[in-house]
């Protein structure tokens, strides 16, 4: 009740302010700023998309103009000749198992750390947390030789395992917090009903933890899909490049070959699926990414 009345007071005061001349001026300033930044974000992407339908000639001599005719074959060249199709498949081969493994292993470890008391529990939790202290580039050289010695250099499974290992600390940190919030009565009830610990985990706890698992799934998907430095160091075989690596490679390659239109098409191919997925899941994705800030 009180909240209601005061809200109207506030709104009323604001409305009075807005009706005045300076209010209108401020309102237009606000709109101009917002539209300006939106244009700054959107326009480069629109330019990219329509340019990817142009010929090399048009790209060079009329950077602003719309394509005279839609050059669909740019996309074909990008997918086949520039190997975007191959890189896309390679990324899937690495990210899907990496993501699955990360979520399962982290959920198991986080569940134990959140709900079981045993000597060393805290120590293990902080051991995992210590991994977030170090930047990745500190590990690059030893990691390169380690994977080499294990015969995992230039292999998909090597990349999958390394991606997983480096995703564990934050995922475990987040899911431990999540499992702690689940009611312990459920656990006891299930045990009394005759379920064993494994059944409790897979049939009771995991379904309950689904929102947390999805958040971590999104967070890690973007991290792995966009991962650049790890494949750059651990994957030298051009046939097995993942997307970001392949994209970077062809940008540097293209300076010599000059097939700009295929390159524009390649970036468009990479951007569009991200855009579609983002627009559909945007509120979840925003949450998924900004949770990273919570640890600060």
């Amino acid at each position: 009740m009180t909240a209601d009345t005061s809200q109207t007071t506030l709104a009323g005061a604001q409305r009075a302010q807005e009706r005045s001349f300076s209010g209108i001026l401020i309102q237009s300033l606000i709109n101009v700023s917002l539209i300006f930044w939106a244009a700054l974000v959107i326009f480069p992407m629109i330019w990219l998309v329509y340019s990817s339908f142009k010929t090399d000639q048009e790209i060079f001599f009329a950077p602003w103009a719309l394509p005279q005719e839609l050059q669909w074959n740019n996309f074909e060249r990008a997918w086949v000749d520039v190997h975007i199709g191959q890189y896309f498949v390679n990324s899937m081969i690495v990210v899907v198992p990496g993501l699955t493994l990360t979520v399962i292993l982290s959920a198991m470890a986080a569940y134990i750390l959140a709900r079981f008391q045993f000597p060393g529990n805290r120590a293990i939790f902080y051991l995992f947390m210590s991994g977030m202290l170090f930047p990745l580039f500190l590990a690059l050289v030893p990691l390169f030789f380690l994977t080499k010695d294990l015969g995992m250099l230039n292999t998909f499974h090597g990349l999958i395992i390394v991606y997983t290992a480096y995703s564990l600390p934050f995922t475990i940190f987040f899911l431990t917090g999540f499992f702690k919030t689940l009611p312990s009565e459920l656990h006891e009830a299930a045990i009394i009903d005759g379920a064993n610990e494994y059944q409790v985990f897979f049939q009771v706890m995991l379904p309950l933890a689904q929102p947390g698992l999805v958040t971590m799934g999104i967070f890690n998907f973007l991290g792995m899909w966009n991962q650049f430095i790890l494949p750059l160091v651990l994957m030298a075989d051009r046939e097995k490049y993942v997307l970001p690596q392949g994209l970077s490679f062809m940008l540097h390659q293209q300076y010599y070959e000059n097939d700009w239109s295929a390159l524009f098409a390649a970036v468009t191919i990479i951007m569009i699926p991200t855009l579609v997925v983002y627009v559909i899941f945007q509120s979840r994705i925003q949450k998924g990414i900004t949770v990273g800030a919570l640890k600060g």
């Binding site: 007071t9 293990i124 990479i270």
Partner: protein
Amino acid sequence: MRRDKYKIIIPFLFPAIALYLVFVIYPYLQAMYISLTKWRGLTPNPEFIGLENFQRMLEDKYFWNALGNNVTYLIFVPLITITISLYLAFLLTQGKMRFSKFYRVTYFFPQVMSLVAIGVLWSFIYHPTIGILNSILKAIGIAEPPAWLGNPDAVVPAIGAVIVWQAVGFYMVLFIAGMESIPVTFYEAATIDGANRWQLFWNITLPLLWDTTRTALVFLAIGAANMFAITQTMTEGGPNRASDVLATYLYERAFISSKFGYATAIAVSLFLMVFVLSIFTMRVTQRETLEY
């Protein structure tokens, strides 16, 4: 009571711990040792040389050059990003706003794109012949705009601008979350007392957002100390090392010049600098937290 609990504890913890110790902790620890050695990767055992790598770093002009660029990013990127994102967050929380949802979704989008894709896109935009930036600049009367990524004086601001462009949406969402958690009664009381929007922002919003701002500062500082993906994609540290940062320099030392010991020593120094800087930022910005 539950003596058999170890039947689940051990198999559930073991895989994660094993993977983590072998592929994360072991390499980090080994890095500390490798940084004290001379190693070209051909012999199985690195040659121990103590602190020699660190001494050499002090006289290495390329090291200082790269560090200088990191420091430039460190000064400007957080400042500009936080200013713009705070401003936009403030505008979007001013009562009912048309298209407010559209703006939030749009501004955040660069954050989900890979830095490599962003780097490639902006290399096109900055390109002197195919790009659109310079034709805009010519249209508004700048006769000879620089060839951004090819010009040693323009390349660092050009890359820094791209990072601001992609980061603003993220920090704006963070600030909006912070602003929305401030009780509306504070604003009501002040409005009744006759405060205008500007005063509300300076005297209520900003002080209560201090914790979010500190977090943003530390994140941005860590980002400015890295800058690997964007630099490697757009320029590979060029032209002529003008946009080198420590991360690209150490990558080049290690994986192109095979100076693994020296490269790791650079990585260790970079880590220590970031670590000290983060703690320093948190300490300096520490104030009495306002409870509300």
